[in-house]
């Protein structure tokens, strides 16, 4: 009795070529960095600034997702009042997390002001570290 062998390579390959996106920051630099200091400056101005922007955007999108999840949890809770699958605490925490993440710059400012006081200088991406000369 012969067993039919199914060749493995006959399986259809579902995935085609994936588009690879390289995030090349806008390098407005001369042809080559002259010193190590130039490298640090270029990294700071052309790479890390957009990175902070991307983080803020990701947080905003996550906040929207959490907000939608909160509303959905409210609807589920209202429909199945006997079922205990959706707790009120989950809805509250989702709403708070959504609010904090959508308003992440304000949240950060409020947090820093809570620790160091409202008169404190808010640091920024492009700012120098002023405490050191």
């Amino acid at each position: 009795m012969h067993r039919r062998l199914i060749p493995l390579h006959s399986r259809p390959r579902a995935l085609g070529l994936a588009a690879v996106l390289f995030l090349v920051g806008g390098l407005a630099v001369p042809a080559s960095a002259q010193t190590f200091g130039d490298i640090f400056t270029d990294m700071r101005t052309s790479q890390l600034g957009p990175a902070a922007d991307i983080l803020g955007t990701i947080s905003f999108v996550l906040g929207i997702v959490f907000g939608i999840m909160a509303v959905y949890a409210m609807i589920r809770r209202s429909r199945h009042s006997n079922e205990n699958s959706v707790e009120a605490g989950r809805i509250i925490m989702l709403s708070i997390a959504a609010a904090c993440m959508i308003a992440i710059p304000t949240f950060l400012n409020v947090g820093v002001a809570s620790i160091f006081g409202t008169g404190a200088d808010q640091s920024s991406v492009d700012g120098q570290l002023r405490s050191l000369n």
Binding site: R44, L48, A52, L55, R90, L108, G111, D126, S131, N133
Partner: protein
């Protein structure tokens, strides 16, 4: 000797942009930490609600947010540490060139043109290493929330205290000058 002095001057010229780079890196990483902290609050609340095995705690989420904020405002954190250690009037670290004024007697042997320049450059390098130590201490404190009972919080605070003493090295040397020669 002049070439050695020039080399130290070139090293010092790197440190300013490197320092700004570290500050901005901390700003970005701090934002990420705060976002992770908010998410941890959510995860913790869900774990509490479902009475699962509790892998996360509100302490962990709070540590992420608070230390993330401290890392975001690194210059203010340094100012607060310097004010705590050296008195409320001192909110900024003294410049490396002031070290001769803080410890004139102890540093008398290196007085003169090349010696002073090299000493000031070395102090500048030590200040930068101190800044890195403070940053490492802050991140160790964040890590202590993930891995408790390993003494990481104390290690982080020691890094911060020693780092701040290195950041304000002229005043620290001045303390020893007053101890030995006053």
């Amino acid at each position: 000797m002049d070439e050695l002095t020039d080399f130290f001057q070139r090293v010092v010229a790197i440190l300013s942009p490197a320092q700004a780079f570290v500050a901005v890196m901390c700003f970005v990483l701090g934002i990420a930490l705060v976002i992770m902290g908010i998410r941890l609050f959510l995860i913790t609340a869900e774990e509490r609600a479902h009475a699962h095995h509790r892998r996360h705690g509100f302490w962990q989420a709070s540590a992420y947010v608070v230390f993330g904020l401290l890392i975001i405002s690194l210059d203010l954190t340094l100012s607060a540490w310097i004010a705590s250690l050296f008195g409320a009037d001192n909110t900024t670290a003294s410049a490396a060139s002031e070290i001769m004024a803080y410890a004139p007697e102890m540093l008398a042997p290196v007085q003169g043109a090349p010696g002073e320049a090299i000493l000031i450059a070395l102090v500048r390098v030590a200040q930068f290493i101190g800044l890195l130590a403070v940053v490492r201490g802050l991140f160790l404190c964040v890590k202590s929330a993930d891995m408790p009972a390993q003494g990481l919080m104390g290690k982080g605070f020691i890094h911060m205290i020693a780092g701040v003493m290195a950041v304000d090295l002229p005043r620290t040397v001045g303390l020893f000058e007053n101890l030995f020669f006053a």
